[in-house]
Symmetry: D2
Subunit: 331 residues, 4 copies
């Protein structure tokens, strides 16, 4: 993906530690992680006005709670939901209106003031850097896998080795699915195999990767393809899917302004379901954390940067130098 | 749609009246109707080998039943299912393998031999010509509306005034929905309004018809768009749909070999569900007949031809001269 | 139902008109309505502590809005949601924690201070007294019907002529369903027939009412039974339901402390789904109002009392003297 | 459960090996297994007329196929579906009409003539005795777990250590769930623990086992309880379930003629879903086999009897002497 120039990150400023109002909490952030959403946002392409504190993802511990907060206590390790006001249920404009690091201050700060209802306990076995990959990439992958109501033995395709795709791989494995992972890099495919991928396909050498998916699935096609490429891949994802199967539309790495071409006759006669997915609710986030605990999932973080080195992280992401997630430490 | 030249219809032949085997029935066909599927099929574009009896749709009465048939009796008025072996449940290759007038003999004959399980009682208030519009167009529209699990008050868009679209209009009204109908002809829109359309849009004069849909729905967008145009309309159908709403992909009048372009970023951020629909099961067919009876639906048949005048019916359909359905009488 | 003695209603008190905080609104209440929940509550059987303002239902107009409220304006006619904090999605303890007139002040007052997110616009064609029947009885009936995803032609059973049952009847008709209504009173059945009931059964004369349901449904059984009797009716409701059909458990008029007996072998072999239903979310409430507008539903209010005559309304409800709903005027 | 006296098993008879008609296959049966359904059936309590070949479960290999059979070849190892004519979709009277060993000849014979569409390939890693536990107990457990659409981390309760319960335990584990197993025997619980149970409860010592379920689930209650006891357990199963959770009604070991008592107010206010489950379709059976392969499940067979020793197997089952399944060898 050709990313816009994110320019220089905002200058750090010193603020007072906030006081939580009724129903609110203050989280001492210890780690964040980078998403394309953040990079686009840093480039000023989404919503104004700056300055606001960037980065949607955040993990840390509760240091203060406001009146009436009973679900959490000071000292609890938590992550914050991407959409703090989307508590549960299907996506709606009202629920999705608020986004950390976008419509309001995000997590590249030491103290995040947020509704306590938007905080979810961190699985015990995760570091803060690992946990910080949950809110955007993890929950997006969770929603993408869940819309297909997967059964053990279902064939799931994850495209590439970015944060959402490796999360989708691990979540699908936790459901007992058979996972096919595609990438243009053998080295990255090895990482995916170590995380549980049952079949790996180098799409540079095998551009007809959907044929491999058909073969692996006994000729039927995948039950679910988690498509992150959009214009670059959506048509082929349709071809890779079984009759009545699902393509989750979760990204547009091939470009967000170019439309994607889909073969209508195949989509129709094969009864394909293409479903747009964007992150999820606090309940989805909570369900994912419970699954992470039950399955012992550890998300893959290939690189970690200090918060004063954000530009290096952004540059690495733009160069596709990472595998899984890039973490940002908050001192 | 530019249709291939259907050429001369097969010559009539005289056959013995068949004897039903165990579980089978013989139906004395009184009427059929034309679908694009039939036209394409007559042109030899789908599956061979000819000769076989064309036309998927058929209505008439049972004249003989085989051993073990208890659901039906001689004299019952019935229609035959498009896919005689798709009894119920989701679409599968096995269920959809058999198609009347396509993979096996269809309904342009006086006596149809078929599994009794594929026959559904005709609603009492329908003529055979009206009932003959149920198996392909009616059931397709039923499936397209049902995938959205519509509620009274939902906004549903039907595109154009072909058989599936007018059926979708009437079925959506039976669910209590608010229906927006588009067409390039004011005369055809008047037919739609008489059938219950709440809002009509001439898409020649208002090519931005999705703006009308947004206005009608209080800015939200449609709960369901039944898209029949494919390449010619699918992108705009996505724009017309509310967050989390559904686009049923039921046709490709804009061309089956051209891919459709969809705006990925809208499909994703608005969480649109695009779902390919093809006809339905015997249970869907039965459910539709029950709804037709309860709601008193009468499908719109604009023209009727004799079976020796099939070519004229095909020509009319290719010229888009019809509204709703074209019936074929079987003497 | 033998109701506890509700005793004397709380004495009226004079309070200042409240000021809305951020995200809040003040509603000038014009009407409320009575539910068994209110009667039990007035008797002190549910949650303490008193005093609090009773009655969950309320309709009126917005007279003040707080900072950040954009969905509503002063002058809008609205009803308030039974659970003000259950915005959408499935029932959860957190969502259902708050109940007007139960855990917090309700609608037997002139000015209700409430989250603006809990207010829903009143359908234009309803009076405030009619609208006041929506929040508890209407939404409960909506949820009970919706869990069965009804299709036009489905057979739905409503038991008796209380508020929930007549709402269920009208909502099922808006879905195109065939409705069977039971009651022990021919007069009340006539009211139901005027509201659209297709079949009525006097269960005093025909205690085996489930046989009528089977007959009406061609031997299959109902697609949905909305059970309000609990111990007095649940077993028979199971017998009245088709294989794979649904029994909504929405009430326990036969007694809340007596367990209901269900025939396990029938429930199992007929694959019955029994589902407990309690009111619904703000989105459910909004969806109902949209359906009420589209279908032109007017709920049935048999009696109206002044707010200083609350005890008479409670007595009438305990004596089952009403049909549909009892409204309470707020001067 | 007090079982009726099954009496002497039918005398063996010698028959010709059948010839498959169109669409049929002949399976050389190698193993069967015992279910309560078989025991009740042997006692003559279900449907007549005898004599017919008993036992619903059968595993073996295909020895002949009829005209038009393409899905299978001679030599394929297969199991036969409990309901040979229930191919897919929800339960219906038509689909469930046919039952092996009940309405038609079953598997206590060397050569089973059956529709090829009712046969499913045996997972490679299973013996025939293990595979023979799939059709009734395995598919029932699969359906019971699937109705709750389980997520990794969900809490599932399996009651006792009979065939369905241990299958449910293993299937729930394949979905990544946390499983609580109850039994009155510590020895049997140890078997369950070895098969993956996360928590075990001796219900003789802890009759309030639902309290353990609440504790294990952080106070919420189980997402799914697979109830096999009916009158003996259903009320407590409701108490063990979270708000909005599911109780699968799959058995009535506490007696099929005694109604079960359920606490209506809890079922209602906690929005419990009680759903009757009976075996499943050929597609369910196929999906289970795919999951068994993916997860490497081996069902637990505690005892194996020769076919001339059927009475001993029945006696053992009546005495609850088994754990998991009792296999019957067919020589």
């Amino acid at each position: 993906m050709v990313m816009p120039d994110a320019g220089a990150p905002p200058e750090p400023v010193v603020r007072d530690v906030p006081e939580p109002g009724p129903g609110q909490a203050v989280v001492r952030i210890r780690a964040s992680s980078l998403n394309y959403h953040d990079v686009v946002n840093l480039a000023g392409l989404i919503r104004g006005p700056w300055p606001r504190v960037p980065l949607s993802d955040g993990a840390g511990e509760v240091v203060a709670i406001g009146e009436g907060v009973r679900r959490l206590a000071v000292g609890d390790r938590v992550t914050a939901a991407f959409h703090p006001t989307w508590l549960q249920g299907p996506p709606t404009p009202a629920a999705k209106r608020s986004v950390l690091g976008d419509t309001c201050d995000g997590c590249l700060q030491q103290h995040l003031l947020v509704d306590a209802a938007a905080l979810v306990r961190t699985p015990d076995h995760l570091t803060d850097a690992e946990a910080a990959t949950i809110p955007c990439a993890g929950v997006t992958a969770w929603s993408a896998v869940r819309i297909a109501e997967p059964k053990p033995g279902d064939v799931v395709v994850a495209q590439g080795t970015g944060g959402v795709s490796l999360w989708a791989l691990q979540i699908a494995k936790a459901h007992g699915c058979v996972v096919v992972l595609t990438s243009s890099s053998d080295d990255k495919l090895e990482v995916g195999r170590a995380l549980g991928a049952d079949h790996v396909v180098n799409r540079s050498r095998t551009p007809e990767w959907h044929d491999v998916v058909r073969e692996v699935s006994g000729g039927k096609g995948a039950d679910l393809v988690v498509d992150v490429g959009g214009p670059g891949s959506l048509g082929r994802s349709v071809l890779a899917t079984r009759m009545g199967g699902t393509v989750a539309i979760v990204g547009g790495l091939g470009g967000y302004t170019t439309p994607a071409e889909i073969p209508v006759s195949v989509a129709m006669t094969q009864n394909i379901r293409l479903i747009g997915v964007t992150v999820g609710s606090v309940v989805d986030h909570t369900d994912l954390c419970r699954a992470v605990t039950a399955a012992g999932i550890r998300p893959h973080v290939s690189h970690t940067f200090g918060w004063d080195d954000l530009a290096a992280g952004v540059a690495l992401m733009e160069a596709h130098g990472h595998v899984g997630k890039i973490a940002i430490e908050v001192p």
